[in-house]
Symmetry: C2
Subunit: 424 residues, 2 copies
């Protein structure tokens, strides 16, 4: 008998009909002889509706109370799901984050899981019950207050439960068929991947792929949890996210050089023009930016002009954090001694990811040739062991993605099907 | 400094504007130098909406999960109320039933409070915070599950908190101005009472007055909690529900003979025709009825006819329980040996209540004279120490109420104002 953890997002439980469909899916898994633990998000737009209400009653949002409010959303969906399953004749019990032993730090709105003590869940499983757990929420032991995990929270709940209960697999149900070689809305010929390593998934998630939240992938990788990303609308197999080091002895997976091509249009570029090329400048710049709350992604420093001893530093960051970073830098202009700032939010980031890049040769040559042939102008380049990323103008990044996808032989024979909707 | 417990029902927190108005009211109480603990119901129709969802996903309702579902409603309203208060610059903290130490038995859907351990509430009050508690819900220690208190639950939560925290008063905010001498929709000249004894309130609540739930009044009486029933729409004083035995030395309240006139159209009458007038028959009948789940109110047994040795037994019970009781009696016809059953759901019950009835003379004479003068036909009569109730035809009970209200000098000079809406 296997233990399977299943996560269903908000769009999978948006109304009574969807909840009944999900309940049937869960019962089918149970009927097949598995123990089942489910993490569920709030129904459809519940969280947004609650946030609207909060904004309507209070101009300033108190984090503890906001978490108390938002955690009600999952309490509703989990109870409804348990009711639906029980009326199908199967024992089901729902548990809040705190009842499930989801212990977090005390950072309201973005709490991190520090421990999972699923005593009551084990008891329920031993009683033969299907266990339903509220996603996205936890409990802090010191303050005894309810917390929420922030973006991607329900994915993380599912993975943490799978790790704590040593589940055989953690199935993430979503509105797409799995992980694709690229975003099908950009690259029509993108193909669903049968398998991807957790390392590659991590790079793709960090490069703009939205199917899984990076926190959940990190947690899964650290705790050796195998993920199965699949559609809640079809019974088809989705994509297995696995750790090659944990494959059974002798089993190998044939790898293509490039696993996926990701596009990210959410970033902006700041260029600090004319800073003295002396030690400590970069530290000064990025301390200032970090204090503004911004998360820097790519950094490029030009070779300095010998005549002036001045150089330029460019970096990318989420557009939403651009204004705060600019203001912070402006305030430190005298200390950093730069001449001017440039801000460009019309950029796109293109990344190719593949674990086989470590051993394969000629990957970057093929990559840049494809971009050149497509007439793409490159503004910045960074690389990791298994990833190459470039920044282009926003208008050309989708063309670039299609060109690279074709060049590495990733194109499928038919166009991918695109579903609508997102989960929490 | 006083400690005041305030209870706001669902209609008082139906939308963002109402929540802000309630928040202001709470803050005003705090500004006046009081410690404040608030029990709040779910917003407006939330509970009904959740019940509709439950019915849509599951034909059979599992009590534990239904309580988990319904308890989310108060979690939403309490968090919103705390957010609104905090944004007005006052510290507020919301607590679920279990966080507030509201310990109940394990009867889901109709749990009874067995203990209140408000440790966290005391800490919050010591910190100067306004405390917001989810009404209607509690926690069972053995099962570690969330329970709900059933009808009138939020009133009971407020009273239980007032008792446990030894509050000076428990204010029940509602959509009417207080307790009236009669239902203003029936008796236009009904007057708001400034004071009523808890004993009288209990009789009125048990006789069809809907302003306070009988469970909450009982709890208040048992624990010596003074209630103040008042409008959430006006700042005017409402009605104080007090225990005369606890009045300060020397203080007395002038009592009228009759405090209130109540009408109840929710009952039906069952008559068991032709039962042998021998010992044990009544026990047989009412054991059968009780097993059907029905709550019997009034009982009248006719004098038996000497010739036949047969008698009739009539009793009233809630209409909603009528069918089950009839079926149960039918099944026991042979054992009870009755001739036939009659069912009448076109009855009304009229009650007059007054603590001074104990010492005053001529009350029942004046009562029956008033009914006779108004041409009312009486079907059944019962009395308690401080109450007389009669059953009439449903069509004439409102006329009867107006006649009796006038006869006892309760009519006000002007017509009462009637508000719409109800709370939980």
């Amino acid at each position: 008998m296997s233990l399977i953890v299943q996560k269903f997002g908000g769009s999978s439980v948006a109304d009574a009909e969807s909840i009944k469909r999900v309940a049937k899916r869960i019962v089918d898994t149970r009927k097949a002889g598995n123990d089942v633990v489910v993490a569920v998000s709030a129904m459809g737009d519940t969280t947004d509706d609650l946030l609207d209400l909060a904004a309507a009653v209070a101009p300033i949002q108190a984090p503890r109370e906001l978490d108390m409010l938002l955690s009600a959303g999952e309490r509703i969906s989990m109870a409804l799901l348990a009711l639906a399953i029980k009326s199908m004749g199967y024992e089901a019990r729902s548990y809040t984050g705190s009842q499930a032993g989801m212990i977090t730090d005390a950072v309201h709105g973005a709490a991190r899981i520090v421990d999972v003590t699923p005593v009551r869940l084990r008891e329920a499983l031993d009683d033969g019950a299907i266990v339903i757990v509220a996603g996205f929420q936890g409990f802090n032991r010191d303050t005894r207050d309810i917390t929420t995990l922030g973006r991607g929270g329900s994915d993380t709940t599912a993975v943490a439960l799978a790790a704590a209960l040593q589940a055989d697999v953690c199935e993430i149900y979503t509105d797409v068929d799995g992980v694709f070689t690229s975003d099908p809305r950009v690259v029509a010929k993108a193909r669903k991947l049968d398998r991807i390593t957790s390392e590659e998934m991590l790079e793709l998630a960090g490069s703009g792929a939205k199917v899984l939240h990076i926190r959940a992938v990190e947690y899964a990788r650290r705790h050796g949890v195998t993920l199965h990303v699949r559609s809640s609308f079809t019974p088809d197999e989705g994509t297995i996210v696995y750790d090659p080091a944990r494959l059974p002895e002798g089993e190998t997976v044939e790898e293509s050089v490039i696993t996926g091509v990701a596009v990210d249009l959410s970033e902006a570029k700041i260029t600090i023009v004319g800073v003295p090329d002396v030690p400590g400048v970069a530290a000064n710049v990025f301390t200032t930016v970090a204090k503004s709350g911004a998360n820097v992604d790519m950094i490029v420093q030009n070779v300095s002009a010998a005549a002036t001893g001045l150089t330029d530093i460019s970096f990318t960051l989420p557009k939403s954090e651009g204004q705060a970073a600019l203001s912070a830098l402006q305030r430190e202009q005298e200390a950093i001694r730069f001449q001017s700032l440039q801000y460009d939010d019309q950029i796109g980031k293109l990344s190719v990811v593949g674990a086989a890049m470590r051993s394969a040769t000629g990957v970057s040559a093929k990559f840049f040739e494809a971009l050149f042939a497509a007439g793409i102008n490159i503004e910045m380049i960074t690389t990791s062991e298994i990833r190459i990323s470039v920044v282009t103008h926003a208008d050309s990044v989708n063309d670039a993605a299609r060109a690279v996808h074709a060049a590495f032989g990733l194109d499928g024979d038919t166009d991918a099907v695109v579903h609508a909707g997102t989960g929490r």
